[in-house]
């Protein structure tokens, strides 16, 4: 009953605080705007006025931009001529593939009438459709190192299946080069030859850095089958601009590539006759071939998309501005109306 007894009351008692908790160091956190999450901030609220203003501004900015784009695009004259079916003689219509793979000159004459004056330079494009230049197997089948430097010519490991022929490396290797487009066009106006300038049709960076000045085609198109155009083995790759253009693979299966430039103006009503070598096989996969003559504006070729998009979006914005303004006037919701709070709406809920 002595000490134990007295202490039994200790058991179950509660000390308010362990006395060891002497205030030696305050654990009080330091104040900082960061830790207290009070960083100055702007708190945008989409109030009606802001919304209407935003739409108005967007509309006001976009419509003129659309007009400018459309104007630029409309100024461009573009003539498109599909020739892949017409250039197959009637006798071979049923078996185009055999025709294209057959021997002999596949010359074709096309006549193009200029409807509107085309200021020089007039750009000549060929357009292929349903041609998967962006196919994974196709895109990766090339070797940039080999294209750039003669010392890398044996580096063909990414080029399968067009890597070696008879054990010798192909330069340029790979499917992309192998399938080089090889239709050719010659233009004449009133029996007068229109010279085609094929210089400067590729991006300068490609010419200068990606295709070597001392890399010459080797063993190119020597295996069977032959995929497309051949290259002059005496001309370095950096000057083979058709190849350079071709090897900048297109993003989509319908694409245009620059063929050359006509450095004279074409006048409205002019009849251009095109002497065309129809060599490239797109018939096996129903690809279309088109010849395109086009001028350019500062914005590029004839493409109304940007202009129309700008105009549409601009008008939508203006329309929305008006709609929201009307809605706001007709059926306004007072800002910060407490009756909209969910717990006020359903009483007690």
């Amino acid at each position: 009953m002595s000490s134990t007894a007295a202490s039994s009351t200790v058991v179950g008692g509660r000390s308010a605080e362990p006395s060891s908790c002497v205030k030696k160091t305050s654990k009080r956190p330091k104040y900082s705007k960061f830790t207290q999450q009070e960083l100055p901030a702007c708190k945008p609220i989409l109030t009606p006025s802001w919304v209407i203003l935003t739409f108005l501004v967007a509309g006001v900015v976009f419509i003129p931009l659309g007009v400018i784009c459309l104007f630029a695009s409309q100024g461009v004259v573009e003539i498109v001529d599909r020739y892949d079916t017409d250039c197959v003689p009637a006798s071979s219509k049923d078996n185009k593939v055999a025709y294209i793979q057959g021997e002999g000159d596949k010359i074709c004459n096309r006549t193009i009438t200029v409807t509107k004056t085309m200021k020089h330079p007039v750009y000549i494009y060929y357009q292929l459709e349903n041609f998967y230049q962006n196919h994974r197997r196709y895109v990766k089948s090339r070797n940039d190192a080999q294209l750039r430097s003669p010392s890398e010519e044996r580096d063909v490991k990414t080029c399968a299946p067009e890597d070696n022929v008879g054990g010798k490396p192909i330069v340029p290797c790979g499917l992309v080069a192998w399938s080089l487009f090889n239709d050719t066009y010659r233009f004449s106006r009133n029996s007068q030859q229109l010279p085609v300038n094929k210089k400067g049709i590729s991006w300068k960076s490609d010419r200068d850095k990606k295709f070597g000045k001392n890399v010459f085609p080797k063993n190119f198109q020597e295996g069977a089958p032959i995929g497309g155009g051949t290259l002059d083995p005496k001309i370095p790759l950096s000057e083979q601009e058709d190849l350079i253009v071709w090897m900048r693979t297109a993003a989509l299966p319908t694409f245009r590539k620059l063929y050359g430039k006509i450095e004279t103006d074409l006048h409205a009503g002019d009849t251009i006759s095109v002497l065309l070598q129809n060599n490239y096989n797109t018939y096996s996969f129903n690809g279309e071939k088109k010849l395109v003559l086009s001028t350019t504006s500062w914005l590029g070729g004839r493409n109304d998309f940007l202009g129309i998009a700008y105009l549409t979006v601009g008008s939508i914005c203006l329309f929305l501005a008006v709609t929201f303004a009307v809605l706001y006037l007709v059926k306004p919701r007072q800002l910060g109306d407490p009756s909209y709070l969910s717990w006020n709406r359903s009483a007690g809920g």
């Binding site: 708190k43 196919h135 940007l306």
Partner: protein
Amino acid sequence: MVRPGGLSVDSSTNHLRAPSRTVTLGRIQPQAPSFRTVYCNDRDANFPVRFKGNSISTTKYNVLTFLPKGLFEQFRRIANIYFLGISCLSMTPISPVNPITNVAPLSMVLLVSLIKEAFEDWKRFQNDMSINNSTVDVLQDQQWVPIPWRKLQVGDIIKIKKDGFFPADLLFLSSTNPDGICYVETANLDGETNLKIRKGLERTWDYLTPEKASEFKGEIQCEQPNNSLYTFTGNLIVEKQTLPLSPDQLLLRGCSLRNTEYIVGAVIFTGHETKVMMNAMNAPSKRSTLEKKLDKLIITIFCALVIMCLIGSIGCAIVTDRDHDYLGLHKKDWEYRNGMTIAFFTFFTLVTLFSTIIPISLYVSIEMIKFIQSTQFINRDLHMYHAETNTPASARTSNLNEELGQEQRSTGAVREKGFNFDDPRLMRGGWRNEPNPELCKEFFRCLAICHTVLPEGDESPEKIFYQAASPDEAALVTAAKNFGFFFYRRTPTMVYVRESHTEQMGKIQDVSYEILNVLEFNSTRKRQSVVCRFPNGRLVLYCKGADTVIFERLAYGMDDVRKVTGEHLEHFGSSGLRTLCLAYKDLNPEAYDSWNEKFIQAKSALRDREKKLDEVAELIEKDLILIGSTAIEDKLQEGVPTCIETLSRAGIKIWVLTGDKMETAINIAYACNLINNDMKRFMISSETDAIREAEERGNQVEIARVIKEEVKKELKKGLEEAQQYLHTVGEPKLALVIDGKCLMYALDPTLRITLLSLSLNCTSVVCCRVSPLQKAQVTSLVRKGAKKITLSIGDGANDVSMIQAAHVGVGISGMEGMQAVMASDFAIAQFRFLTDLLLVHGRWSYLRICKVVMYFFYKNLTFTLIQFWFTFRTGFSGQRFYDDWFQSLYNVFFTALPVIVLGLFEKDVSASLSKRYPELYREGIRDSFFKWRVVAVWASSAVYQSLVCYLFVTASAFDGKNSSGKIFGLWDVSTMVFTCLVIAVNLRILLMSNSITRWHHITVGGSILAWLVFAFMYCGITTPRDRNENVYFVIYVLMSTFYFYFTLLLVPVVALLADFIYQVVERWYFPYDYQIVQEIHRHEPDSSNADQLEIANELTPEEARSYAISQLPREISKHTGFAFDSPGYESFFASQLGIYAPQKAWDVARRASMRSRPKAPKKN
């Protein structure tokens, strides 16, 4: 007579289980594995055994194991495994991408995770070091030498000073206290703050001074280290004498010494072999509900990925044919053999290609955000810093932050103790009796004598501290002290009271009362009595107890007093106060003596002692004279009612699980405003007549059956009623009160459903007298049965299981033991901080994490969908659209930081508004921001934006793109798309932010700029090997065209236009609550600053009080429970005179009960 029970150690039986006492034959005898032999004070002798050192290490890794172990930990995550798999796939030839595309982000993610792990481990290491380097006095060469803990060895004799922690498990030898006892606090072990007594062997009492202690040469044979805290067996062999050791002599590491100047002990177990360390285990790790839902989202995305790949592979098998001779398919190829192989290989190609759909950096970003949220925001929130206990909040785990934003049930262990640790009861108004000074004195004398409180500390009114079995007791004694009856010392037979008599100002008199008998309180008696002898020989019985029991035992002729008191009691009771009646009775010595004999007989009875004691007590506790009543207000922690009120407005249902008895629990519930008189209450109590009858019959099976029947009946009835109310308009709110015994049966599988559905219909549920296990059971019932997100809050060891069972466990830190805190996920100093923790941090965290997740989902989906759309135009070949490096850096570089900023700084409304409109929290409960609907909206946004980015650019990039008519290639187009995408996706962050700090601008601008800078550099170089210079010079080519700028303006604007319109319409016509609140307060500046913080932090007592009063039940209830209450002198006398006096005394009581409590050696 004081019941000597309650000690946590039963010393009488343990040494019977001591290991067989082998006699050791010299020191060379090999150690039997079952026990260890420790030679005290003899390092050389202990050396051969090589006991472990006392240094501890809680780190997970060391320098060598860090990399393998850390990586292993990382790859336990399914997402990382997935990306590892993808990385492996990308090294095969079927991969459309360079391995770097997947390896780079994965290594980046792993690196960040590993750095975080290393940082955390480093902190643990530092913590260990600081513990290992704290010093302790060790006996060396007859003097105490301080050495660091880690150098402590088994067998050392050490000295621990008052309030010091034991550095290892010690054998207690001697103490400065007489009788060789010392007091220890075991709060760190089990959360119990009451002091426990340890008693050294009499044989060792003398080894106190260094000189003496150095003579001590004992040999300890004891059990091998184990984790049982409450058992210990061993022998001490001193001078060929074998003495049995019991847990009484064991001082455990982690405990601290109290009320004892110093003790001397011998080290038995060290370091990791100490019992506390062997008990240390990792709390089960919890994952937040949101994270689980995130997993579902990831699985959904994965399914989408599989579907996309299937579409692609089937498409590829159909489209790819040999007719496309430029593809070179005329040559045999393992991949393009036939439709089946094409489909098969393309599938994996596409999986690799589309792997970005699963955001690789999501987990690591979320982890980082949560880490900063918890370490920087929660831990450092001044709103949650409690100055009085010097405790800031602490998030002990960072992976549950957003869970706090979704609590639906808070199974608050709103234990009485939990709430009033701070100030033992607040005295209020209390005692009503006629202004008869003698009776008045009796009143306080009764309070000062009739209790089992133990004073501690200096014997001055300011510094004394009362250790009491219940806070009520301490409160009443404190009340008496404040009214001039200062109980300052107790010996086993005497109580010393310093009486200052008010009628004779300044006269102070120390009076000692001899305590002859104590008739203990128990739940059947509901009263407690003390028989004492005044110095002048007067014999008095003081009794206090529940009104019903006291009234039964009053002497005749007390009707007036009884009536008046009854009225008071009713009044108190209706105010939610707990009442007690005080009575006394003068005894005549002869009657007493004869009674005392019976009492002693009863006490020494071997059978039915309790019952006999009760019977004997009945004999003397009669014809009492009523002196008055007390009412005690359950002084909850500051701000608790407000907090609970706020939380329930926030849609959180609160369950009280308490070990208290029903009356107390109900009182607390009243005080917390959980139950009020407007509520329909369902009481399921085991204290019904039927059950009691059954219990008296004593057949256990019968009792169980009866209780079960009763409970079933009650539950059914309750449920029916509840469902009726459900269909009536203006239904009353329902409350369920159930006690532990009934709960035991209600938790039975057959009744569980009924219980659950009843309780879910109730606004508040109070479970009283529940065991810790039941607390956990109830919690998991709600968690699993009702699929609700639960939070448990508690402060004691008995809350641990509950804390661990809930989704989120919150421990109240600062005063009670650490047990609850250790088990918890968050620790806060005050219950009321729960408001901040949930409504501010939790809500924000939830909001932020939701937005972050959604944003990640959106940005990766957009990114991948563009790729997907492109696949359609490549003959499903799986050609990649983006350059390898663009793709690999998209997640970790070009879009990484803004989303982290969003996750850190996003707030919809300010902290003060969050608390002002607690209803906003319901958006989290409804999971408004992470519903499948929201996911769908984001997904459509991603589809739309990807289409815009892809189609707009490809449609417009077809023809010549500058005046020189040159044509873009694949990589030009893709870089254009990528640029638009990076801009759109980064700007989307600003569109979705409610609060845009300068960090938003910096990171968004920085990300876009980073992309451009990267593009400039990357496109400007050619690498010698192994890379096709797809994008060489691309950005320069692009930027040389007007087209680039026109597209750059158009595409992001169009992409974001739809989202903008959606947001406008949503805000205008289907506003979220937070948006309305934003609008209401749109003109107010952010109101919080450091000064106001101080005020906000301190809820003034007046405020709390006035609030509590305003919350009191409006009508008088029949409800009178136990309560104690007492105002100060001033207000008492003033109110007697009908004058209103400010509640100053309240402050007096408060101040007196504050914790200024220097420890003095206890004098027994």
